[in-house]
Symmetry: C2
Subunit: 381 residues, 2 copies
Amino acid sequence: MRINRLIYHEGKVTNPYSVAPTSHFFGSTSQSDPLFWFVYACGPLPHTRGYLLFGSTLLSGWPVSTVHRKEASRFVPSSVRFFSFHYLSSASSFLHPLKMEFKKPATVLNLANIRQALVRMEDTVVFSFIERSQFYESPSVYAPNKYKIPNFSGSFLDWLLLQNEKTHSLVRRYESPDETPFFPDQLEESFLPSLNYPPVLADYADEVNVNDEIRTVYIEKIVPQIAAKRGDQDENIGSTACADVDCLQALSRRVHFGKFVAEAKFQNEMAHYTNLIRNKDIKGIEEAITDSAVEAKILERLIAKGHAYGTDPTLRYSQNPQSKVQPEAIAKIYKEVVIPLTKKVEVEYLLRRLGDDDEAEAQDPQRKTQLMNRLLSNSLW
Amino acid sequence: MRINRLIYHEGKVTNPYSVAPTSHFFGSTSQSDPLFWFVYACGPLPHTRGYLLFGSTLLSGWPVSTVHRKEASRFVPSSVRFFSFHYLSSASSFLHPLKMEFKKPATVLNLANIRQALVRMEDTVVFSFIERSQFYESPSVYAPNKYKIPNFSGSFLDWLLLQNEKTHSLVRRYESPDETPFFPDQLEESFLPSLNYPPVLADYADEVNVNDEIRTVYIEKIVPQIAAKRGDQDENIGSTACADVDCLQALSRRVHFGKFVAEAKFQNEMAHYTNLIRNKDIKGIEEAITDSAVEAKILERLIAKGHAYGTDPTLRYSQNPQSKVQPEAIAKIYKEVVIPLTKKVEVEYLLRRLGDDDEAEAQDPQRKTQLMNRLLSNSLW
């Protein structure tokens, strides 16, 4: 059974690249085989790169796990970069990779899911910039103690951001491993029962926090590029600061998602990263985590999104379609701020990745088998 | 001097409709005339309908005022529906109508500005729906007392919305005439000095508040159309409720903007509305405030925005561009919820519009002249 035909007819593989000649799809499935295996492999498929779903038997709910590229080499020719085995409960189920859910660690460290989440976050970032662009630059919002605020010393923005974080900590926002507070020391305990997320990242992950830098660079470099005008507009300081909070939180989530990228890459190429980390080879780590082709695609896509989301589509063919934020400015912000800060998070995270246990594990010749077993028993359902 | 040529060459009139054959532009300006008049008139120009900017002399900073359609009939042929006189400090200044600022009442009651604000708010509404569409329907978020919240009885959403409103009331959000709280009785006093907005609306305007209805219809009719899936997702109740707060506030601002629409229409056609209001002719008021052609345009534009903003533009030509919210659903929500509720706000506002003073004023035969004088002395600078 050739799966590429199925994929095509199902019409669910949405990206034109998926039927490009560089993609490979192959599979085997047999109704009569109780183990009912399915395997497919893909080349440079955007959004679905580098995951291996692995499963067996007819029983619904059987373990399906993510296995990484290193392990995968046992099963497929080396010419295939990324591939997956997938339990098929229906002919098309494999076409919907399991969605990222923080209660299911394997879905979080799936590079395809991470990629998809990062692409989706671009929308939130662009929307928040567009909303911010309605207001003036408003330096008073960022000046420390410009306004007299009872029991508080700091900028107006900081005050609003802190109130927001306090309220959201009460409803468990910062328990989620993809949320990083700007005021980690001032959070409150939630009245809701803890969610007890299974660990996805190393235990020091919360300490990798570049929010102070994000805030500084946001105020100094981003605001001037997206604000409607220079100067202050006293009656809009509240709206402005609210829009700032949204921008900062969107940027913070995007940048700190680097931790998941780093963890997934580490697990995928453990020997290589272990070496680099042991040698404190920061340049080597930066090179290993950098994919210039992907970065170029991100910038291209941001310009497209800036045009699409920032322009009234019914005015698109007029003489001056009035982009609310210059698409090139959004790409520039990513190139100069978001991508470098994400890499900083990745490097900081990776440099600490070899705790004692990890180091022992990495030296263990049985490591690969252990990893495989762990992953296979790691149910996604 | 024929102004249509200028407009076109300036390249600032952005809408293709502006050069449609139904548009009229005419003007007169004379450098030698110390009163240096400028007049232009337009037909059905979207976003610039129905305003008259009125000014004179060479002095920069001279009064420029809005005058309404009724008054305008003195100056231009009746075949021209909308027109304006504008003080020209530079050849292109008249092409940028003065932006809406709540500290300058005449800019707020300018129908062109109101229209533009409403069009811009569509973006915020669509963005907020797209953000909400990442999460499940989450009925637990809306069920009263589903979660035990200290010192609070109500739904989880209500709790989060109340915290948000309390914080924002501290920074004057609800002093602004375009913001309407869901919990008007539980707001706090701001630590910032009051902004003392000049009155734009009648003094009972704050009492026209349909937020309870907005919340009900949002939960019952809107959420099911935009949520990713049925059911609950315990770890996302916080994110879901945050997205809900954004949707509700965007909808509330949009719907209650009807007050400005109503006030501007009332001032434009005072005699007609006075009659209708005096006769408590609700059907007549509804007819007077309804423009079916404009409504059809809104729905068309929302579908275009749903496609443009809800789709990754780099995937637009793939087999399944994955609209995050069905554009038709957004149009349906406007048609069945937003537009009817806006009209309800307009009617409620108008039915109370004839206080004793207004009634006296409307009967005064000098009314038109008085209005004209008042408007002319009403500086926008």
